[in-house]
Amino acid sequence: MIKLNNISFKYDKELILDNFNLNVKTNEKIALVGMSGSGKSTILRIIAGLEKPQKGKVFIDSKDVGNIPTFQRNIGFLFQNYALFPFLNVKKNIEFGITKLNNQERAEKINNFAKLLGISKLLEKFPHELSGGEKQRVALARTLILEPKIILLDEPFSAIDTKLKNSIRNDLKAIFNNLNITLILVTHDIEDANVFCSRVINLDNSE
């Protein structure tokens, strides 16, 4: 379903990815692990269309998406720090991507996803009033509400307290298991990778 073909990417003059290849099947859940600077996050950004590789091609469902802008790719992306819009409350953050729907559809969807992620009571709050775990759930609701076929998770647990991490990880695992979705997780923690994914790719070893 996702195919990266001989991707090379330079940032300034530093070579981050050199002829990188990746194949991810539909609904497969894989993890990319590796040290800082190994290019894990860059791979996610290239798949999402946020970065353009200097060389190589990206295929989604066998289609070359090189010229398709990010906003037309229907890929969910959970950023490392969640990047919730600080000037919008939780409800407005979640509905940000579905403003084209009518009011009733929108409200229905927001309620469903808020219930799914256990954040129904937080809808009127602003991001600075939430804990790390709550922020993560809101960001996830905002991403999942678009019903993407692919979800990219960039170090989703790095901003969460170690004590909370286990319970949140199990909750998220349950949520993702119920969704037919292709998932790519970027992490430096092999335990995260093992909990979520059926395949782990270590970028430190791959050429």
């Binding site: 229907n74 919730l84 000037f87 940000f96």
Partner: protein, 537 residues
């Protein structure tokens, strides 16, 4: 280990007292205005109220600041957006040129445009009309927009990339991202920098005087300096302060619980997009119009004046006046920087709300219009003179004031106005450094004084050059305070511009004007280009 006595004595009380004294001192001008405004209304003020002049001046002031605010915010933010998000040929040089209208004082711009309008009458039709309040809205907007441009540019570079990425993955187009992300995220900086533009607009009396826009600053100036009605001027000053108070707090009300910045996110610099042919044409046209009106036309006009009156140069004593101006700037900036370092180090010892309140009090000066501050400083010094020095000097047969209308009064006036620039910078530097570093110095057995000398000073030292540069630009252009508080026969570059222009000798005013523009332009260029590798950037 043996420690020096100075290192270990408990100086907490001493620090608190010094801090409070500085804050009280900073409030003296405002206190004297409030005290003076509590007197009975003069016949003159009664007349102004009766004939509804005050209402007219108040509405004109609101109209002026709203129009100037909106137009300068539009120009400044659009320019900042263009240079931050688009890559085009000559971007770096245009980025610098867009800053340079800041080097032209608004009153110089106003005088210069008289000549420009004479040469290009169609511009007068477009720019000098009822909407622009006889041209004053245009003058303030075109020469003050760089405040918004500079602040927005720096903010957009640091605070936005990740939000844009999120919005893209959520299916938003570029246009939608501009309106739904970029504008809301930048709202606080747009408001704060536009507030600076408005403070500058309210501080000016020369432009409104010259273009006949009847605002509160205009009538305040006439009441005090032309008619000697200090009490009436104080009441008008209170009204002007009230306008500013409403302006600042209305934004806080609108903002509600919303926050705009997220310190936990590390933003990467934004990767600029290459412009298409059509976009390039639009961008170049817009920048060209702004630079033509805000930089090229005024500078060319001033050069034209100078070249037509070369024989005037020896009569102007321009070197002496420049040195005199630089001396005042150097002394004022030094006092501001020293007191700024001390007060920021003292207030740093307070926590949470107390610190926020004290910091706000210390930063209030810039928001007080210069004409109001000048009046307050004048009243402070004249009261001190009358109460203390005049009776003493009289004993020795000297019948004059010791402080009023002296360079001391002028320097302190400038200090009250511009202190907040240095204070805010030092305070923010200390906040960013975090409390731990200072607390660890204390746990190692150092008192406040030694912590300030050994820790705060080295941290703040790097910013001194930057603060001095900002103060230099503000002080060299400053007219209102300098003109109102200057000693007899004191000449600075700005007062000379005002004097000659006021006497219909705009061609002669061009000389000191060009010196101000040249010095400011050099300093701005240094910060933008020369200081690139410097840590002050």
């Amino acid at each position: 280990m043996k420690k020096h006595k100075l290192n270990t004595f408990d100086d907490r009380k001493l620090f608190n007292v010094i801090g409070i004294l500085i804050l009280i001192f900073l409030f003296l001008p405002i206190f004297f205005i409030i005290a003076s405004s509590l007197t009975k209304n003069s016949d003159y003020l009664e007349l102004l109220i009766e004939e509804q002049f005050i209402r007219t001046y108040l509405f004109n002031t609101i109209e002026l600041i709203l129009k100037v605010g909106i137009i300068s915010a539009f120009i400044g933010f659009t320019m900042a957006y263009i240079v931050t998000f688009y890559e085009f040929k000559y971007r770096n040089i245009l980025k610098l040129l867009l800053l340079l209208p800041l080097a032209i004082p608004v009153y110089v711009g106003a005088y210069t445009y008289t000549g420009i309008f004479n040469s290009w009458p169609f511009l007068e039709v477009i720019l000098k009309n009822n909407f622009t309040m006889n041209g004053s809205v245009f003058i303030f907007s075109i020469f003050l927009y760089p405040y918004v441009y500079l602040a927005s540019r720096s903010y957009l570079n640091k605070n936005i990339s990740e939000y844009i990425d999120v919005a893209r993955t959520l299916g938003k187009s570029e246009l939608s991202i501009f309106f739904k992300i970029i504008l809301p995220v930048a709202r606080p900086v747009i408001f704060a920098s536009t507030a600076l533009v408005i403070f500058e607009t309210l501080s000016d009396f020369a432009v409104v005087n010259y273009y006949g826009a009847q605002t509160l600053s205009y009538i305040l100036n006439i009441s005090w300096l032309s008619l000697g009605q200090k009490d009436t001027a104080s009441k008008l000053a209170i009204l002007l302060l009230f306008v500013i108070f409403v302006l600042i707090y209305s934004e806080k009300l609108f903002r509600g619980k919303k926050e705009y910045a997220n310190d936990s996110i590390l933003f990467c610099p934004y990767k600029r997009r290459r412009t298409t042919g059509k976009q390039s044409l639009m961008i170049y046209s817009f920048i060209f119009i702004v630079l033509l009106l805000g930089l090229f036309l005024p500078v060319v006009q001033l050069l034209k004046y100078v070249s037509m009156n070369l024989d005037y140069i020896p009569k102007l004593n321009i070197i002496k006046i420049t040195l005199n101006t630089l001396f005042t700037i150097f002394v004022t900036a030094s006092i501001i920087i020293i007191v700024g370092i001390i007060l920021s180090s003292i207030i740093r010892n307070y926590k949470h709300k107390k610190r926020t309140i004290l910091s706000s009090l210390a930063s209030i000066g810039y928001s007080v219009p210069s004409i109001v501050l000048a009046l307050g400083v004048y009243m402070f010094f004249i009261n001190v003179d009358k109460a203390i020095f005049f009776p003493i000097l009289k004993l020795f047969g000297v019948n004059k004031y010791l402080l009023t209308s002296t360079r001391i009064a002028l320097i302190f006036g400038l200090f009250f106005k511009f202190f907040s620039i240095a204070y805010s910078y030092f305070d923010q530097t200390l906040i960013k450094t975090g409390d731990n570093i200072f607390e660890s110095a204390k746990t190692l057995g150092n008192n406040n004084l030694f912590t300030m000398i050994k820790i705060n000073l080295p941290i703040l030292r790097r910013g001194v050059k930057y603060v001095f540069i900002i103060l230099f630009i503000d002080l060299i252009k400053e007219l209102t305070l300098t003109y109102s508080l200057r000693p007899f026969n004191y000449k600075s570059l700005s007062t000379e511009v005002y004097r000659y222009a006021g006497n219909e000798m705009i061609e002669v005013a061009a000389y000191p004007s060009l010196v101000i523009i040249l010095l400011c332009g050099l300093v701005i260029t240094y910060v933008e280009i020369g200081g690139k590798n410097d840590k002050i950037k």
